[in-house]
Amino acid sequence: MLTRIVRTNAEKGHHVRNQTVKAAVLVAGALLLAACGTNKTEGGSNGGGTGSNAPQACDTSKGTLVVGVIAPLSGNLSALGLGIRNSVDLAVEQANEKCVVPGYKLKMQAEDDQATPQVGAQAATRLSSNPNVVGVVGTLNSSVAQSVQPILKGKNILQVSPANTTPSLTRGDDFKNAPKRQFETYFRVCATDDLQGGFAANYLVGKAGKKNIAIITDGKTYGEGLAAEFRKEAEKEGAKIVATAKVGENDSDFSGAINSIKGANPDAIYYGGEYPQAGPLSKQAKDLGLNVPLMGGDGLKDDKFIELGAKDGDLATSVGAPVEDLDTAKAYLDAYKAKKFKDDYSAYGGFAYDAANVVVVSLGKALAGGEWSDAKRADLIKAVQGYSAQGATGDVKFDQYGDSTNKLLTVYKVQGGKWATETTGTFGG
Amino acid sequence: MTATTAPVLAARDVSMVFGGLTALAEVSLELHEGQILGLIGPNGAGKTTFFNCLTGLYTPTKGSVTLRGDRLPSDPARVTVAGVARTFQNIRLFPSMTALENVLVGRHARMTQGPIASLFHGPAYRRGEADARRRSLELLEFVGLRGLDDELARNLPYGDQRRLEIARALATDPAVLLLDEPTAGMNPQETEAARQLIFAIRDTGVAVVVIEHDTKFIFSLCDHVSVLVQGRLLVQGTPEVVRGDPRVIEAYLGKPPEEVEAEVRQYAEEAAHSTGTAGTADPADSAEDLDTEGGSR
């Protein structure tokens, strides 16, 4: 079709006149000249490499299959999104080297969702209209996941999220009392808000003995959900929520929020949000004379939290056992560093790596050397349901709702400008 | 001049005070059907302020303006609907609309199609639109812009823009037309054409009020002239009366009578030259009048 249109367009311009003949002769001459003049150099380089830099050749005769990624690659959440993309890239490349899916070469295709639902939907549709996409790792934001889930479900495409923490994504709105699986194509490797918030409350109220707690949230899905779950458990444990405040999601001056809770004399702050705000918030609270520990979820567990102003004594919960204790985690970190990515692996890199491994390993199992087709998607999902392995973030396994069964959580504390492990355990609910 | 009928437009004791500054003090005027009333006065005399009071742009601090006995509202849009149309001192056309569209906008007040009708373009709507279009084309022809209806207003020559503004004002079917310096910046030929146009408008039964700096133009045009000085009505009456009033000559014209006379004579000559038709007698006579008046002083 391409050539046809081009030719018709060009022909339109040609009114055959005497001069056209001249032009045609000239053109022909030019072409001939070009052909003759350069033919001599032919064969100067015979092929430009094999096109693959795999050290050991796997059988890739059956073609290429794609692992999709949907994450914010541009905009202000891109640090997290790029960490996810790079980690999936790493996992896919490792899978290629290890011939995890015999007969196929794997490829990563990352799509930007700009952290907005409708762009995420567009990204999901783009991936889902490609029959070679076997699974998608993503999204970062729960609100984007809501628009992506039904689209991928429509094509029966596997989705494994490294970072969605809203419980209702898997278990429905009444997730506590009447859990109901929402999408059988959807899994996640991270812990949900109800676990993390509850575990944080257990620690902060039960172990650290803070009874007057202020809650600050950033109004985003992650932060609000986490803080709500924290609050439920903290009040159950006997703590008093003495004040609440909200900050703008891109704010940097938190004096208004800090001053408004300062009068209530809290002995700890729980922050529902992420480190770019949490770091300065902690520092500004100290500056304004409110020198109490600030605690948050895995959105805070990043070295940049400390760099941005976290003070000693600040706390963060994170899923899984501490990284130092796991060989798989160390292997991941080393491999990531060896790849020399431009961007940091960020908070969800490890989860994304695990999620990608879930996809490729299950794929290898589901195919078992066979051919990929749409009919295999159900097998793939079955394989994921039965997946069990040690990942960079600990045990990766799924329950009947698609949630991670890895309920192990760790509290970290900032000490001497570094993260230190405070306690590890599970939250019973 | 005696009032033979009830006035169309009447201003009674109109005063306007801006933050302690009196711009108008108890100005009273009457305008009768078929009359052309001239309003003159030096800069800052309050002519435009008075105009704005008449058109509802300002609400007079004191006094009232009535149209055929009904008090005029203090909203320009409703004043226009009531039957008083105006032009502006510095032309205020809609520059990116065509001449025809400009006049059609003037027709707005006399059309009734609401948003629903505009949406569906039903038969009644189309009839109304066609009527408006016909009337607008008539008016364009009336002011001498025939064939220019598809031209953007901004692309018209200056004199045509003035005439288009008048056509737009006439499209509102006014009982009273207020012209704010209709000949400002015009050459003698254009001025004469404007004069003829205003006569023609008067002949259609519209009463006209004209503000002008150009006294000669006013004296040659109006049946009745009022002189505003420092917000007060100094003199009013026929051009002859006003022209002869020593206070006017002193306060407003501010120059010796001979000079005025010379100017008027020159104007008459130019006008005669430019048209070469009727109309020469009028200014010449006026000049003579002025001469005698001046002489008697």
């Binding site: 541009s74 202000n76 891109s78 640090a79 997290l80 790029l82 109004g219 609440t244 405040a245 909200k246 900050v247 703008g248 891109n250 704010d251 940097s252 001056d253 004096s255 208004g256 929020a257 001053n259 408004s260 300062k262 009068g263 480190y275 770019p276 705000q277 770091g279 300065p280 520092k283 500004q284 500056d287 304004l288 004379g289 940049k304 760099e307 941005l308 102003g309 961007d343 940091d344 | 435009t48 105009f51 704005n52 058109t55 742009l57 300002y58 502006f88 001192q89 704010d180």
Partner: protein
Amino acid sequence: MATLLQQLASGLVLGALIALIALGYTMVYGIIQLINFAHGEVFMVSIFAAAATYKWFIPESWENTWQIALPCMLVGAVLVAVVLAVLMERFAYRPLRNAPRLAPLITALGVSQMLKEIVRLNYPDAKSAINVPRAFIDEPIIITVPGGTVVLQATSVLLIAVSIVGAVILQLYVSRSRMGRAMRATAQDPDTAKLMGVNPNRTIVFTFALGGLLAAVAGVLYGIHLNTVDTEVGFLYGIFAFTAAVLGGVGSIKGAVIGGFIIGVVKTLGGQLLPGGTGYDVVWVFILLILVLVFRPQGLFGEPERVRA
């Protein structure tokens, strides 16, 4: 009581910052009636420039002496911001001076998107927030008031002082100096100003440069006060600053400063006292803005628009 005073103080600090940025908006708007949406990004870039100066351009031995480090940061930020503002004027806005009124607005939005992305993609670690050093006296000032204490950072005091002094100097400059007269003349009627021997292009460039300078000063103060910056601050504070400029009456220097302070105080006190808490603090700012404009359409200190006839 203490809480209210503390909120008031915080509001004034925020207001001072907004006021400094608003000055740039108001001057550019005053002279060419352009909502320079990219002004907020100039502010943002200057914070990054200050941070970069501190981190990479001054020797380590100077880093702990704020008397040296702060001026260095200021120089770096001002250089970058002024060059950026001038380039923007020259290559983005000047070609559009006679274009339809909204074309420069879209250009401004495009430019701000580009600036944001350039910084985000090229400045190390700028994909999320980065840290800016305090580079000033780090001892808080604690004032005892009935019912508690009010804590003020030294940087807060510096911010308020600089914004007020800066506005006064600017006001004097615009009303007294030759360039100031040229600016006012160009603002009122560029064609006539040209006839009077004023070079409108040079005056406009100068105005942009001055706006850039003020943005840079604001940027450095922001950096050392809040110690964090990300690429979104330009938009956020740009909106606040523009709101302040409009609230005070666009074109008025006094108005921009007072508008800035009002916004700062309303934001903090509104978050404290009004229903909805701190989440809705921005809403109160905007509601106030709407009310002011409805009842005083030209802003608090703007020239009332005369009814033309």
